[in-house]
């Protein structure tokens, strides 16, 4: 299927993509996740043929597509602003790709009707697209991208232009549709919730590299770098130095870790302390290593409370089943097998290279 090899691309004279390689398999939904400006959209544009990479190749079924013009690739791309043609009706928009493919008139009519029925917009066929609501436009854009049966579908922040409530509704709808299409899909987003909900596999893009890739669950459980943990908001990150295969020294003191013989003594590290693994009060005091601090914040979060604790200018968050009074002094602790030790240097470490 699609294979991208060692793509380099500059933007405004600065390197934006620094050797990106990955694959997308048949029927797989891959989410390209990264902060804005990380080059996600550029990556899509390179695959679509709208931009040429500085170096590197794009293969489709082992055929080199790198210099194939965009209109000969047979891919589909849905833009963040949808790019619906304002001078064409809903039906004409959906028909466009079919017309370009040289399908017969009857066939186009039939397929457009089918496509519009599938998004429950058969009555909107003759409307102009500018009259549609954001959600309707999104559905038409997806129908338009899917109508010519592209070999690969790419979506650039397809929910980015919508407000929050609509997003959650459409996310379910989109998930069902994308899976039903059985096409390989690359989905670009900066929203981790969307990515976790949709992806078969996540690609995390940071500083021009793919810092981690894998199924959402695996990425969540084992973030490859501190950046991944921070970007996904997994919990408290504390810088330190590895003192032995089973311990690290930080500003909060020494932490015992689950032993790992590969750990390099004296190298810098970052410890990930997840709020949901933290203990408070009596159970914390029973732990071998515990910390004392002052509660300075307590936020209700539905099922539990998120408690902010201040220790020596360092702020930690811990999850608690009940509310805690602000200003109270409490004991908190993390069992040693819940603490994750991540490499301090982000760049290049989580970068697996071509598989």
């Amino acid at each position: 299927m699609l294979r991208v090899e060692n793509i380099y691309k500059d933007y405004d004279g600065k390197p934006l993509l620094k050797g990106i390689s990955f694959e997308v398999r048949q029927g797989e939904l891959v989410c390209l996740l990264g902060s804005s400006g990380s080059g996600k959209s550029t990556m899509l544009r390179v695959i679509a043929g709208l931009e040429q990479p500085k170096s590197g190749q794009v293969f489709w079924n082992d055929e080199n597509f790198t210099h194939q013009p965009a209109h000969e690739r047979g891919f589909g791309l849905m833009f963040q602003d949808y790019a619906l043609f304002p001078h064409r009706s809903v039906a004409e928009n959906v028909a466009f790709g079919l017309r370009m493919a040289g399908r017969s008139k009857d066939e186009i009519e039939k397929l457009v009707r089918q496509a519009l029925t599938s998004i429950r917009m058969q009555d909107f066929a003759n409307r102009t697209v500018t009259e549609l609501s954001g959600g309707e436009q999104q559905r038409v854009a997806l129908a338009r991208a899917l109508a010519p049966e592209p070999r690969l579908l790419m979506l650039d922040e397809p929910l980015g232009a919508l407000d929050h409530n609509l997003r959650t509704d459409l996310l379910t709808d989109l998930r069902r549709r994308l899976h039903a299409s059985q096409k390989p899909v690359i989905y670009v987003t900066h929203d981790q919730e969307e990515a976790f909900a949709l992806a078969d596999r996540l690609l995390l893009l940071h500083d021009g590299h793919i810092v981690q890739q894998g199924p959402p669950e695996e990425v969540f459980r084992r973030p490859a770098t501190a950046w991944v943990a921070a970007f996904l908001g997994l919990g408290n990150l504390i810088a330190g130095t590895i003192t032995s295969p089973a311990s690290a020294q930080t500003a909060l003191g020494r932490f015992k870790l689950k032993s790992d013989p590969d750990r390099q003594v004296c190298s810098d590290c970052i410890l990930l302390l997840r709020p949901e693994d933290g203990l408070m009060g009596e159970p914390a005091a029973r732990q071998a290593q515990s910390l004392r601090g002052i509660v300075h914040d307590c936020v209700f979060q539905g099922k539990s409370f998120r408690v902010g604790v201040m220790l020596d200018q360092i702020h930690l968050q811990v999850q608690s089943p009940q509310a805690v009074a602000i200003g109270e002094s409490i004991t908190i602790a993390w069992p040693e097998n819940t603490i994750q030790c991540l490499p301090a240097s982000e760049i290049g470490l989580g970068h697996p290279g071509p598989r």
């Binding site: 209109h71 000969e72 833009f79 043609f85 466009f96 370009m100």
Partner: protein, 562 residues
């Protein structure tokens, strides 16, 4: 990368070649002529007063005209931006009419109002039993100023009321909440924010008054010669081409300075944010003071905009044959004779200009101008829409003709293309070429924003869906640009139809244009000549008005021409 760069050059080539050959070459020839004269005679071939006199008068009348225009235009802009009153839409549409009216039409219209054979004098003669017209407003500074105010008030209204409606009302409200009186809030907050648009409008009006030609020639007479009129006189009556060239250089220098100033002012420091509010609520004039203001202002505007036009049309349909010898007695009657006379092909006419031929010529030139200006304008606009260093360098080169005067263009053509193939044949291509040069900046300014408004993602998604490059052009760009293209065509047509400055240099005996013919007829004695000039002006008025109506109807909101 390489392919796209050669594409940009390909886009640039035709308009650039056209401009270099037909715009910059004539300018260069004017310069060369002046300086070769200097080498032959030293600087003795003219006296300084020959330059300073018309220059000072040009500046003086432009200054007065601008002041008067602001005096009426600013309150009028306020009227349109703030108040809702019956007839508002109609009045606003009316206020846009002068901009597109040919100078010749405006000049004849004011002639029928204040000229010796105009309504004002006729009425005074009738009531006071006078044998001669009592008012000699024609050939006076007042006539020039009046016509300039008529012309340019619409510019002030359009530019200033535009930013006034877009001025975020929260600024004023914030100032008021901070204990400012209404006057303080206006002076400290609104006025500084509006200043760039007021200054910009003033400079534009000044520029138009400075370069005004037809109106001054036809209403001012020989003693009120501005630079442009002086260039015309020196070149065509005195055959003193070096002098005309020297005056042209002075004129160009001043125009350039004013244009540069205007461009500077047009980039407001506060960006678009301050003027981005889309306020749609207009006040109903409730208090007496506001009612009086609205009524007075609307009446004034109606008189200003309507009276010359009504006067022209009515005067073209009325015969007023004062019986010879009898004082003040004249028979008035309705007549269509002036119109029917136009369509009689008189080969024995004492004038070389035949109205029927002139109308036919003007139509042919206009159609040619439409084709040349729009196709070159389309290429130029596409070239300008591609960003890059090349564009930044070439853009001023293309937009400069906007400030160049038609008279100088005419003079340049006259000197440069005075040999075959340009002079031979009865079909001078020079006129539509000159008209295209004048129309080109307008066309570019109409099409360029339309091109820039097309999101690139539209083209890209078409490409991803399998559209070849030519299909993208045909399916995406062209349909979206259609409105802008129609507007450009209408612009080119009306500009060419009414153009007078360049045509007055280039139209020869066999190939008169309509405005040139009107000018010749109105300068002749005789009621029939006068009437025919008015009839032609009325026809020109109707055609231009329908052109501008079409432009207003089709043009998308928010597209600015200045």
């Amino acid at each position: 990368m390489k392919r796209s760069r050669s594409l940009i050059w390909l886009l640039w080539l035709p308009p650039l070649a056209f401009l270099l050959f037909f715009f910059y070459q004539p300018l260069l020839v004017i310069f060369r002529q002046v300086f070769s004269e200097r080498f032959n005679q030293g600087w003795q071939f003219f006296s300084w007063s020959q330059i300073t006199r018309p220059l000072l008068f040009t500046l003086w009348q432009a200054f007065l005209s601008t002041l008067l225009t602001l005096l009426i235009g600013l309150p009028a802009a306020y009227l349109f931006a703030r108040f809702d009153f019956p007839g508002r839409k109609g009045l606003r549409a009316l206020s846009l009419l002068p901009f597109i009216l040919p100078t010749v039409v405006v000049a004849t219209a004011f002639n029928t109002l204040i000229g010796p054979r105009g309504w004002l004098n006729l009425i005074l003669m009738h009531f006071f039993n006078l044998s001669n017209p009592p008012l000699n407003l024609l050939n006076s500074l007042a006539a020039i100023l009046l016509a300039h105010v008529f012309y340019n008030t619409s510019i002030v209204i359009r530019l200033v009321s535009n930013s006034l409606t877009r001025l975020n009302p929260h600024y004023d409200e914030a100032a008021r909440v901070l204990n400012a009186t209404p006057w303080q809030a206006f002076r400290e907050v609104s006025l500084p924010l509006l200043m760039p648009s007021i200054l910009g409008a003033s400079l534009l009006v000044f520029l138009f008054d400075f370069t005004s030609f037809g109106v001054v020639l036809m209403l001012g007479g020989p003693q009120f010669a501005t630079l442009e009129v002086e260039i015309y006189t020196q070149a065509l009556s005195r055959f003193n081409l070096p002098m005309a060239g020297l005056l042209s250089i002075v004129q160009l220098a001043f125009t350039l300075v004013i244009t540069l100033l205007q461009n500077r002012v047009n980039n407001p420091r506060y960006g678009k944010a301050a003027l981005s509010s889309e306020r749609k609520t207009l006040l109903r004039p409730v208090s007496i003071r506001r009612k009086v203001f609205v009524i007075l202002m609307s009446v004034l505007l109606v008189i200003l905009f309507v009276s010359p036009i009504v006067s022209l049309v009515s005067r073209s349909l009325v015969t007023l044959e004062a019986a010879r010898g009898e004082r003040g007695e004249f028979q008035a009657g309705f007549t269509t004779r002036y119109y029917t006379e136009l369509f009689k092909n008189r080969t024995d006419s004492i004038f070389y200009a035949n109205p029927l031929a002139a109308m036919r010529n003007s139509l042919v030139y206009s159609v040619l101008t439409m084709v040349i200006a729009t196709s070159l304008g389309l290429l130029t606009a596409y070239a300008l829409s591609k960003s890059g260093r090349l564009t930044r360098w070439l853009e001023p080169l293309v937009m400069l003709p906007l400030g160049a005067s038609a008279v100088i263009l005419g003079l340049g053509f006259l000197i440069t293309f005075n040999h075959p193939p340009w002079t031979s044949g009865s079909f001078p291509l020079l006129i539509p070429i000159a008209h295209s040069l004048i129309a080109l900046p307008f066309v570019v300014r109409t099409i360029l924003p339309a091109i820039q408004a097309i999101p690139n993602s539209l083209r890209e998604s078409a490409r991803v869906m399998g559209a070849k490059p030519w299909q993208v052009l045909l399916e995406i760009d062209l349909p979206i640009l259609l409105r802008a293209l129609i507007v450009s065509l209408a612009f080119a047509f009306t500009i060419s139809l009414g153009e007078f400055g360049a045509s007055s240099f280039l139209a020869n005996a066999q190939t008169p244009t309509l405005p040139v013919t009107i000018f010749r007829y109105i300068s002749q004695p005789g009621a029939l000549n006068y009437g025919q000039a008015l009839a032609m002006s009325t026809l020109l008025l109707l055609t231009s008005a329908s052109g501008s109506l079409l432009i207003e109807k089709i043009r998308l909101p928010g597209e600015e021409l200045f």
